[in-house]
């Protein structure tokens, strides 16, 4: 677009436009209500009166490059519209930050210099999500960070933690437990198929019983959400190995280099969905027992049916 074309007033430009200039000299024109969404730009317009014409374009901070500016204006353009639902905005935001990491960093920088806090928060969260769960090498790789700390400097923050005797004891116990479970896992693998079958059979039998008794629904394990975990049914597991292995210090310490606590995947070898089911079954059972127990205690006002074991009307 040449400058003269820009100057031509088109019918829809009953809107006011604001002129913005990036550090590299490029000038951009944007609707006023969109630009005003940025606090820094808003202040410039209101206090200093700049931006109303090309010659008096608002000088944007260094950290705002044209690519980031264009993204920021898209963001402003979407969010400054009042009618949108929270769901829409959230959806837009989620898609908005799905860009290359490099661009994301630049965008964060630009948004920060324009003091557009909601966008800074959004991009910060996105960057945090990228960093979370990665090793330092991976993080350095993604963000091209220089690996400029000495080995000493790297170990320093963790030194105190790794020296703590209680933490070392825990790591030793974790390692031991992991070995136990590894062995149990080998044995469990052979029994797995059989166990699965057992579960299925049990459930349909239960349903049948209820059906026969003429009542609706233990067909489904409808249970409440619980924040707390429950004991598993014992039949699905082998008893843990006896505590007879000696504690050895060195091999366990190897993994402590990065951080003291290891994510001990102390799994029983059962598929997690299955585990939750079992937990809930136990809880259900306990609850039913409790309610039956309470009724017989109080002397019960309800119909006689209620006292018959599992049946719940």
């Amino acid at each position: 677009m040449s400058e003269s074309e820009l100057a031509v007033i088109k019918p829809e430009a009953l809107k006011t436009y604001i002129w913005l200039q990036c550090f590299d000299g490029s000038i951009q024109q944007v609707e006023e209500e969109v630009a005003m969404f940025c606090p820094m730009i808003c202040r410039e317009i209101v206090k200093n009166g700049t931006g109303s014409s090309k010659n008096h374009a608002i000088a944007l901070p260094e950290r705002v490059n044209p690519a980031s500016l264009s993204l920021i204006l898209d963001y402003c353009r979407f969010h400054q519209v009042t009618g949108r639902s929270n769901k829409e905005r959230k959806s837009f935001d989620e898609k908005f930050v799905r860009i290359e990491t490099e661009k994301l960093c630049e965008l964060t920088s630009a948004a920060d210099s324009l003091q557009l806090k909601p966008l800074v928060d959004l991009t910060s969260r996105a960057l945090a999500r990228i960093i979370e769960g990665k090793t330092p090498e991976e993080i350095r790789d993604i963000f091209h960070l220089p690996d400029d700390l000495t080995e000493e400097e790297k170990l320093e923050p963790l030194k105190n933690i790794n020296d703590d005797p209680r933490i070392r004891l825990l790591n030793r116990l974790y390692a031991k437990k992991r070995k136990e479970l590894q062995e149990r896992h080998e044995r469990q693998k052979l029994k797995d198929v059989q166990v699965q079958k057992e579960q299925k059979d049990e459930r349909s039998l239960d349903e049948l019983l209820c059906f026969i008794n003429g009542d609706g629904g233990s067909g489904g394990r409808a249970t409440k959400s619980k924040k707390k975990n429950k004991r598993r049914k014992d039949h699905a597991k082998n008893p843990p190995k006896a505590d007879s292995e000696p504690l050895d210090a060195n091999p366990d310490m190897q993994d402590d280099a990065e951080y003291p606590f290891e994510d001990a995947d102390l799994d029983d070898g059962l598929d997690p969905a299955m585990k939750e089911e079992l937990d809930r079954e136990v809880e259900d059972f306990a609850r039913r027992l409790n309610s039956v127990w309470n009724e017989s205690h109080i002397g019960g006002n309800g119909p006689v049916q209620r006292f018959s074991g599992f049946n719940h009307r």
Binding site: C105, H144, D147, K227, K230, S291
Partner: protein, 515 residues
């Protein structure tokens, strides 16, 4: 700013001195064309200096140039472990964690193994966690953003907790949680006597935004005279109050939006009036029984003009709910008839016991989302509930329908003729038995606004043949709403409600499984 090692290259030294990196535009073009960009005269970095950040032109570090405040914010969003780990990323990052608001979440620091029954391991885990927390607190200058430790620490090591809460690292703390999440251990232990938390707990009353207090006692003396001017979310689990102290506590939170009450003792009835409350969750749990203390079983919402969600978190014992005025109440559930003494719900003139509508004079048209669960749920029950909430749009059936045939053509002919069903979304667990087919087809054939019927099926039925068969059985070709879709899923999460922490009360729809 510390001295950089000679190997730290590119414009890093200038960056840090100026506080801002030079214009990106020029650098971008240069990088594309030329190769390594250096404004300094020094030679490109030796090959071993960059862990991946090698001499390639496009590999520029764009994140370290962000101002400290922003990097600090990013680090404070990481889990406790990761946040501490950023210290060893690079020299620029070495002090970011120390300068950012501190987040300590006990669950991040060490994963407690599930189904923990090994006492030795349990003790070791807790000892180690306590050590780690102490170390982190002594290393960090503050301020504090979030502090979360298991509630049993209040009983097991109260002096340590007091020391932690008094530490300068937690200065201006915004979120305090005595909470453990899903992995609570030693579930079946006898409950220990509850004691007041250390006085230092209330040191942050002026800055707290989110707080969860559990396994403690809050008598009048603890809460008197304390104000929580910024507290928006308050969770109270397994807490014992005196008759007046619960009320005092809630009244001292002028901007409270979310309130979670689980296993509250010492008070039988709670009356709430709040101009700001948006979401309330109430429940009882069989494993926290205390025979010598009165259990909160009656909640009366006298006036809550902003209340949108009233949620039942679990009913070992019923928590009767009476709502006198909550004109914006939109989400209700999960209603159940688990306990022998059915939960009593009163909304104005609507009286519901368990899942049975006992009486109805004036309907509640604000309610749009409802979740129900029962061992013997049937269509009649659901239709009665729909009569109470005529504008219902989302219905979640959180238990299997079976038993009664649910025949409706003759029985509910009048209802179909006289009422307009506004339902848009129905979610139910499905096996394809006759009672379920009848139930589902009632809605498919009569709900003219229906958009989605989600059927949760088991893995054996999760196949195209079954879907095709059900399409026919449910008479989809005769559906009342042309836009209605059948969606089969094998993700059968049987959680009735997804609320573990008071924060979850702010989720618009807690019945949706988001995993």
């Amino acid at each position: 700013m510390e001295l950089l090692c000679p190997s730290a290259k590119r414009r890093r030294s200038e960056d840090l001195a100026a506080g801002e990196p030079p214009p990106r535009a020029t650098e971008a073009t240069e990088a594309a064309n030329l190769g390594p960009t250096t404004h300094s005269e020094e030679p490109p970095p030796p090959p071993d200096a960059g862990g991946g950040g090698g001499g390639g032109g496009g590999d520029v570090d764009r994140i370290s140039g962000l101002p400290d405040a922003v990097l600090g914010e990013i680090v404070s969003l990481l889990s406790t472990k990761e946040a501490g780990r950023t210290q060893i990323l690079a020299s620029r990052w070495r002090h970011v964690w120390l300068a950012s608001p501190l987040v300590i979440d006990g669950r991040d620091l060490c994963t407690k193994p599930k189904g923990l029954r090994d006492d030795k391991l349990f003790t070791a885990v807790n000892e180690a966690l306590a050590s780690a927390v102490s170390l982190i607190l002594s290393a960090h200058p503050g301020p504090g953003r979030r502090f979360c430790v298991p509630p049993h620490y209040l009983h097991d090591r109260p002096a340590t907790v007091d020391a932690w809460l008094s530490s300068p690292a937690l200065h201006n703390l915004q979120e305090l949680d005595f909470w453990e999440g899903k992995h609570m251990t030693h579930r079946y232990d006898r409950p220990y006597p509850l004691a007041p938390p250390p006085a230092s707990t209330f040191r942050f009353s002026a800055t707290l935004r989110v707080a969860t207090l559990s396994k403690c006692e809050l008598p009048d003396s603890s809460v008197e005279g304390i104000h929580f001017p910024h507290l928006k979310q308050l969770g109270l689990e397994n807490v014992s109050f005196s008759e007046g102290s619960l009320h005092t506590m809630i009244s001292s939170c002028p901007v409270l939006e979310c309130l979670l009450l689980n296993d509250i003792f010492g008070v039988g009835c709670l009356r709430i009036s709040s101009n700001t409350l948006r979401s309330i969750g109430v429940g009882t749990d069989s494993y926290c029984c205390r025979d010598n203390l009165q259990l909160l079983q009656e909640v009366i919402i006298v006036d809550a003009p902003c209340l949108e969600r009233s949620l039942c978190l679990g009913s070992f014992k019923p928590t009767n709910l009476t709502i006198i005025s909550a004109p914006k109440l939109e989400t209700l559930g999960c209603l159940d008839d688990d306990c022998f003494e059915r939960t009593r719900l009163v909304f104005g003139t609507i009286f519901i016991q368990g899942l049975k509508v006992v009486s109805l004079t004036t309907t509640l048209s604000s309610v749009k989302t409802l979740a129900v669960a029962s061992y013997s749920i049937n269509l009649d029950m659901v239709i009665e509930l729909m009569k109470c909430f005529p504008c219902l749009e989302n219905l979640y059936i959180k238990s299997y329908i079976s038993g009664e045939m649910n025949r409706w053509r003759r029985k509910h002919r009048d209802f179909i003729k006289s009422s307009y069903i506004h339902l848009k979304k129905i979610v139910l667990m499905y096996r394809g038995i006759r009672s379920q087919i009848n139930f589902a087809s009632f809605f498919l054939l009569n709900a003219r606004e229906l958009e989605l019927m989600r059927l949760k099926v088991g893995n054996t039925n999760y196949n195209e043949a079954f879907f095709a068969e059900q399409y026919g059985m449910l008479q989809m070709e005769k559906r009342a709403s042309r836009g209605a879709r059948l969606h089969f899923t094998n993700k059968t999460c049987t959680h009735r409600i997804h609320v573990n922490h008071v924060r979850d009360l702010s989720v618009a729809n807690p019945f949706e499984c988001t995993e």
